[in-house]
Every structure is written in C-alpha cells, then in structure tokens.
Amino acid sequence: MATETHDTASACVDSFGGAIGMPQLCGEWFGNQIFWLLVTLVVIFFVLSRIALPRIASILAERQGSITNDLAAAEDLKAKAVEAEEAYNKALADARAEAQNIVAQAKADIQGELDEAIAKADAEIAAKSAESEKAIAEIRASALDSVKVVAKDTAKEVVSMMGGKADAKSVTAAVTARMKG
C-alpha cells in the first residue's frame, strides 16, 4: 500500500506513505470523516424519507390491496358459480317435472281419445247388430209368410189333384192350424 505521498504533512503517515500506528486513531482525520459522514447520512436520509420509503410503502400497500381485491373477487365468483349451479339444478328439476306433466297429459289425452273411439265403435257395432237383427227378423217373417202362401198353394194343388174340390177358405184355415200346431 506504500504510495507516492512522501511529503504528506501528517503525523499519522511516515515518509514512505505507511501508516504510523492505527489510522483509526489519527485525530487529524476525524473532522474530515465526521463532516463527510454527516453529509452522507443527511443525503441518504432525505433520499429515503422523501422518495424511496414512501414509494416502497405505496408499492407494498398497492400489492396488498390488489391481493385483497383479487381474493374478494374470487370469493364473489365462487358464490356466483354455486348460485349458477343451483339455478341449473333447479331448472333441470323443473324441466323434468314439466316433461313428466306433459307425458301424463299426453297419456291422459290419448286414453280419452281411445276410450271415446272405443265407445263410438261399440255404439256403432251395437247399432249395426240391431239393424241386422231387425233385417234378419224381417227376412224370417217374410220367409214365414212365404211358407204359409206356399203351404196353402201346395195344399190346394194337392187337394185338387186328389180330385177334391178345394175350398180356399177351409184349406187356408187347415194349413194355418197345422202350421201353428
């Protein structure tokens, strides 16, 4: 560390620029060090208290604020999601019930229509069969009449062929009595 400061006017440095004793205890340097230290500390203090510390404090506060906000927003969104899920489930259940109703309604309607159609068909069938019976009765009656006429005619013919004189009235009465018998 020897330097060129050979003629330093100091009691703390020898003629070769080396330290005599501890430089820390050299009184003639104290003033200089203290002066510059005070200047330095004052400068640092003003830089810190005017610029650096408020700025860092505001940055930290801002970060804290945004974290809190984000957490609150997340909480909100979570609640909304739960709400939405509930609404969805409710809508689903409603839709299901509605569908059930519609199905039941449709079933009832179809049943009604079916019953009506069956009743109508039954009625028609009944009417048709009554008609048919009537027709059959008519036919039977007319057949009976025809049989009577045929029987009378046949009886007259038979009587006349046998040589008897056929009394129309008595033949008819006899045939009628026979047919009843």
């Binding site: 560390m1 020897a2 330097t3 400061t5 003629d7 330093t8 006017a9 100091s10 703390c12 440095v13 020898d14 070769f16 620029g17 080396g18 330290a19 005599i20 004793g21 501890m22 430089p23 820390q24 205890l25 050299c26 003639e28 340097w29 104290f30 003033g31 200089n32 060090q33 203290i34 002066f35 510059w36 230290l37 005070l38 200047v39 330095t40 500390l41 400068v43 640092i44 203090f45 830089v47 810190l48 208290s49 610029i51 650096a52 510390l53 700025r55 860092i56 404090a57 505001s58 940055i59 930290l60 801002e62 970060r63 945004s66």
Partner: protein
C-alpha cells in the same frame, strides 16, 4: 513497519495502510472539507443506495423486478425489526434506523471490494453514529417519559437493598452503550480487513524461498476463507448495529421493564 527498500525480496507488511485517509486530489493535508477517499467511498455508497432503493423501485410494479424485490426485502426487513423489537410506537423513527442500516450495510459490502476504502472501519464514523443514537434515544426517553425515564435504572423487580447497586451498574452500562456500539462495528470491520492484508502479505512468499511453495497456497486459501467470513460479518455487523439501535429505542419508549 517494514521498510520499502528491497521490494519483492522480503515480506512487506502494511496491514493498516488501507485505512489511511488521503486527499483525492493532490498531496495536501486533510482538512475538514478536503475531498478524500472517505468522500469518494461515501459518495459511492450513496449512489448504490439510490440505485437500489430509488432507481430499482422506479417501475413501481405490483409484480416486482429482481432489484425492486431486493429493495422491498430491505424495507420489510428493517420495518419488521423496528416493529418487533422497538414496538409499533417506534415506527415514526423507522426512516432514521433505515438510514443507518442501509448506510452501514452498503459501506461494509463496498469495503470488501479489492482496493476499496472501508468507511465503517473507522471509529470516527461509527462513533458519530453511535453517539447520535445514544443522544437521540436519551433525549427521546426524557421527552416521552419525563423523569419516569430514570426508572430504566431502578429495577423494581429486584429486592430493595439491591436496587441502588443495580442502578449504579445500569447507569454505567447505559453510558458504555455508545462505546460498545461503535467499537463493535469498527473493530469487526478493521480486524477482518487487516487479517486479509496480513495473509495477502504472505502470498508472494513463493518469490522469496522454497518455503513459499507451502505458504503461498495456504495464504491464498486463508484469504478466501477470511473473505467469505467477512462477507458474513459485513451483513451481521450492520444487522447488529441496527437491532441494538432498536433495543435502545425501545428502552427510550418503554423504560419500565
């Protein structure tokens, strides 16, 4: 001290020369306002602090850059220390404590650069800071508590006959505070740097004799080891100075044990 005469052929020990205060321009005497190496290194300290705490935080980003997170770390570290050690009422004094810490920690680390001048290795520097803390804390104690501040020395937990003796001890220890406070820092810084220099003086042994084959590597390893230790000490001493300041501040604000 060793002489200059035959450089290179004999060991030269100048472990204390690194602490010499000299004018930056010219060879004159060191006056009160002379621009010296002290001025230079304190200015560098200020520039580094500005770079870290002002330029580093100029982004004001919510997601911090690396430098900004270091600045925030420093802020949070000291603020929490003040709050934890010296209570919440001490927070108005946080900028003062931060000033001390950041100055000491930067001076200590800058002093570790090869060829640097370590301002905090000088008792004149640390004593001014320690005395400032001592006076500020004492005045604050009396302003805040009036004569009640004296109860700091009157330990009511002790038996009555012991109290005067304890009070005497407490008073002595109270006045020794600035001495220990300042010498602890300056002494630690000076000792480490001087030891590195002593080992460094052994390093050129290999140019002098065969024993140097053994001594030179050893001294280089020793320099490395001490340097690592000094990196640790540089931070720890800044931390210790700051936390003691907080402890003294707590005594001033809450003198009752």
């Amino acid at each position: 001290m060793a002489t200059e005469s035959e450089k290179g052929t004999e060991l030269v020990f100048h472990p204390m020369d690194q602490f010499i205060v000299k004018p930056l321009f010219g060879d004159g005497a060191v006056g009160l306002f002379t621009v010296t190496n002290v001025t230079l290194w304190m200015a560098i300290t200020v520039l580094c602090i500005v770079a870290l705490l002002v330029l580093g935080t100029s982004g004001r980003s919510v997601v911090p850059s690396r430098i900004q997170s270091i600045a925030e770390l420093c802020y949070g570290f000291i603020r929490k220390m003040v709050e934890d050690v010296a209570s919440k009422e001490a927070l108005p004094y946080f900028p003062y404590i931060m000033t001390l810490f950041i100055f000491i920690v930067f001076s200590n680390f800058l002093g570790l650069l090869p060829g640097a001048f370590t301002t905090t290795s000088h008792i004149a520097v640390t004593a001014v800071m320690a005395m400032a803390v001592f006076l500020a804390v004492t005045i604050l104690g009396f302003v805040k508590n009036g004569m009640g501040f004296l109860s700091l020395f009157w330990i009511s937990a002790a038996p009555l006959p012991l109290r005067p003796i304890l009070a005497l001890i407490e008073v002595i220890s109270y006045f020794v505070r600035p001495v220990s406070h300042s010498i602890r820092l300056a002494g630690n810084m000076m000792a480490g740097h001087a030891v590195i220099k002593v080992f460094a003086a052994f390093a050129p042994m290999i140019l002098i004799g065969w024993i140097g084959i053994l001594v030179t590597p050893l001294s280089i390893i020793a320099i490395t080891a001490i340097y690592a230790l000094e990196v640790l000490v540089a931070f720890i001493q800044a931390y210790v100075f700051t936390i003691l300041t907080c402890v003294y501040l707590k005594d001033a604000l809450h003198p009752h044990h």
